[in-house]
Symmetry: C2
Subunit: 221 residues, 2 copies
């Protein structure tokens, strides 16, 4: 029982810091995403495609969360974008406090859109608000179409879903339409994009949504 | 600091129960695997293929761990195999105590090989010994070849790796040889099988290894 109590305290403390982060984002006029997925669903590849498309349109920054290594930060740094790497050293999710620390190394005033790439994990990140505006879950077609039913918390707390690796659909038994139906059965309000970093499909629509939201958010500053 | 202390106590307690489980397995002569992977890497599909191949050769039982739903237990139950479903209701890994509870619903005397399918998660299960003989990590070719570097704890504590979805390699940028090299750089002792549940490749070799180990283990009873 004591463990449950402490876990609640940890979550309460996290939620307080998340609220502070959200206030910071509001003050600086930054639109913030928390991207979550299984390991290898393609979050970093989507970021690479996204940064290519957004170049010259809006100013982007990124916080990379990883259990170990800064491989992802190296990948996104090639785009000349302000990037901070958080290495959790075994930790299975990002917490609001880690994001707050990372924010101190970013010039938020010069950023319209901040993307936080969470640790690859479909379970634990669901409980940790980072202060983001939108939680984006990336589901790969290769993972099978039952994932929203088996990992409902993340799909319930997300507002956007990318169904990624659409190029592989011809070679799979799973069907993106079933995946989508299962996700909407958990969370009818999910906004769904179907994307492929190989063919480029869906990246335009996703980026248009990002630009529209970042601009609308900035206009509130 | 208090959280860290309690986390240590949780792990100590888990390790004690894992030792008890191991003693039970030794007493009953059951060979036990703990299968871990990202969500959707194909653990349950491998189990289905494995059960087909092992039919009439050795007696198999299964414990299914899931965050939510008994979809996987339903899939394996079709093979007429003793199966117990553990639903963690949001919990991100199996613990030795949950396995101990599940064992009470299995007739271990009539089982040669017990496969525990863990929750789909490449991070948290690394810390929780269930009392298994071998920890088997399933890495899908679609997840990219950098996963062992990014999630080293699980690859370090596993003794066997299945590189699954080999049939999709022609359609991917990632290379199984690089994945294998990265895994061996983390854990040079890993035994590696390359498998496909679509083509059936590698399933024979994997099942031969299972039978040999289960029989050797039973002979010690």
């Amino acid at each position: 029982m004591s463990v449950i109590t402490i876990e609640r305290k940890v979550l309460e403390k996290n939620d307080n810091v998340a609220r502070e982060n959200r206030a910071t984002f509001a003050l600086e006029g930054v639109f913030v995403l928390n991207m979550v997925s299984s390991p290898g669903a393609g979050k970093t590849s989507i970021l690479e495609k996204t940064f290519e498309h957004l170049r010259g349109k809006i100013a982007v920054g990124v916080i990379e969360g990883d259990v170990q290594t800064d491989l992802d930060a190296q990948r996104v740094a090639r785009f000349g974008i302000p990037a901070v790497q958080i290495v959790t050293r075994g930790g299975c999710h990002l917490e609001a406090g880690l994001v707050r620390e990372a924010l101190q190394r970013l010039d938020l005033k010069s950023i319209d859109l901040l993307i936080i790439e969470n640790v690859g994990n479909l379970v634990c990140p669901a409980n940790y608000d980072l202060g983001e505006h939108e939680r984006v879950v990336v589901a790969s077609t290769t993972e099978g179409d039952d994932k929203p039913l088996k990992y409902p918390a993340l799909f319930r707390t997300a507002s956007v879903m990318l169904i990624n690796k659409m190029d592989l659909v011809p070679y799979l038994n799973s069907q993106p339409e079933v995946l989508k139906k299962n996700a909407l059965s958990i969370n009818p309000g999910l906004l769904v994009f179907q994307t492929s970093c190989v063919s480029g499909a869906g990246i335009d629509a996703w980026c248009e949504w990002l630009v529209a939201n970042a601009q609308r958010n900035a206009s509130k500053r």
